[in-house]
């Protein structure tokens, strides 16, 4: 198509634009996420996810040994949940989730650390093998907040034939929310299964036979029928939570 204009001509040209398709659910950008492991330390540092822009929702998923909590250092985060909570002695691991709204001047990395050293115990460091995964989420909502509904479970340290997480146990008030399932467990993962339609977007296994799995449907639905099942299970902690859409 071309426009030909003559001298002195006043050409009217009205245009109709077609809106771009709108994604009706939040998006966890798996290609941009960053992960880090800490060995024998009090802290774990993770790089800023790729392509972070002001206003993005940054979600940090942290797993620690035992029941130690982590608190952010230098950069504020909002706590989504800590499972188990309150602390259960001899219960491990512990999962924690945080969020933060990216500013125009985000740091290049984020450090999460445990509180001051606790009384001596068998392991000299609270983070024998601590993990953190940080992702960025777009198209989220803020009314009343980015997270809607949290469901968590943890074992009591005993063996179980299975431990199940059901998304239906979440209180879901906003359709097309993004369901994130974050678990950490201490057992031979060869015997661990995740059932359901939610794909795993990240998993790590270290020599202590630990793994963190995040089952992220990458699309929202008004209701869910997904189950995360560990068979057998021992010392499991995990949570499910929703990120509400921005529309």
């Amino acid at each position: 198509m071309a426009i030909t204009l003559q001298p002195g001509q006043q050409l009217p040209l009205n245009v109709q634009l077609t809106p771009l398709p709108v994604t009706p659910y939040p998006i966890w950008h798996t290609a941009d996420q960053k992960a880090a492991i800490a060995w024998n330390s009090y802290q774990v540092t993770v790089d800023r996810p790729n392509n972070v822009q002001e206003g993005d929702l940054l979600v940090a998923l942290v797993s620690t040994d035992f029941s130690y909590s982590v608190s952010e250092r230098n950069y504020p985060f909002n706590l989504i949940a800590k499972i188990p909570d309150p602390d259960i002695p001899q219960s491990w691991p512990t999962t924690q989730a945080f969020y933060r709204i990216a500013t125009s001047n985000e740091p290049s990395s984020y450090t999460f650390r445990t509180p001051d050293p606790r009384p001596p115990r068998e392991d000299p460091y609270p983070l024998n093998s601590g993990f953190v995964l940080m992702g960025r989420v777009t198209n989220y909502g803020l009314s009343p907040g980015p997270v809607d509904g949290v469901y968590g479970r943890s074992s009591d340290g005993a063996h179980h034939s299975s431990i199940q997480f059901h998304a239906s146990q979440l209180l879901v008030s906003v359709p097309t929310s993004l369901l994130i399932t974050f678990t950490s467990h201490w057992i031979n993962v060869e015997f661990t299964r995740i059932r359901g339609t939610a794909p795993m977007i990240w998993e790590i296994l270290d020599i202590a036979l630990r793994s963190i799995r995040i089952a992220d449907p990458l699309e929202g639905q008004p209701t869910w029928n997904r189950t995360i099942e560990f068979t057998p299970a021992e010392r499991v902690a995990g949570m499910m939570f929703n990120i509400i859409p921005g529309l």
Partner: protein, 98 residues
């Protein structure tokens, strides 16, 4: 003439003066040997006005562009005559070639 009518007459006088000024101003800056492109950009689905769309054309006179106002209107004046191609772009809409 009561005070209310006087007010209306005064307002009409001021409005007319502004309109006259704008018309003269347009004439003053528009070259009769050049061409002009104007129009409105609307949402194809809702019919609403699209503000902030960029209308850009490229041709013998170079590149000309304008940004639509809150009412969706745009106007590009003093365009060198000739054949142009271009596009209307907006971050929330599909690009519309011209």
């Amino acid at each position: 003439m009561d005070e209310r009518k006087k007010g209306i007459a005064a307002a009409a006088g001021v409005g007319g003066a502004i309109l006259t000024f704008l018309l003269l101003r347009k004439k003053a800056v528009s070259d009769p040997d050049k061409a002009e492109l104007y129009g409105k950009v609307t949402n194809a689905q809702t019919g609403g006005n699209v503000a902030g769309a960029v209308v850009a054309i490229t041709g013998p006179g170079g590149v000309y562009d304008a940004v639509t106002a809150g009412n969706g209107n745009y106007r590009i004046i003093n365009i060198e005559p000739g054949t142009y191609s271009g596009a209307v772009t907006h971050p929330d809409y599909e690009t519309h070639p011209l």
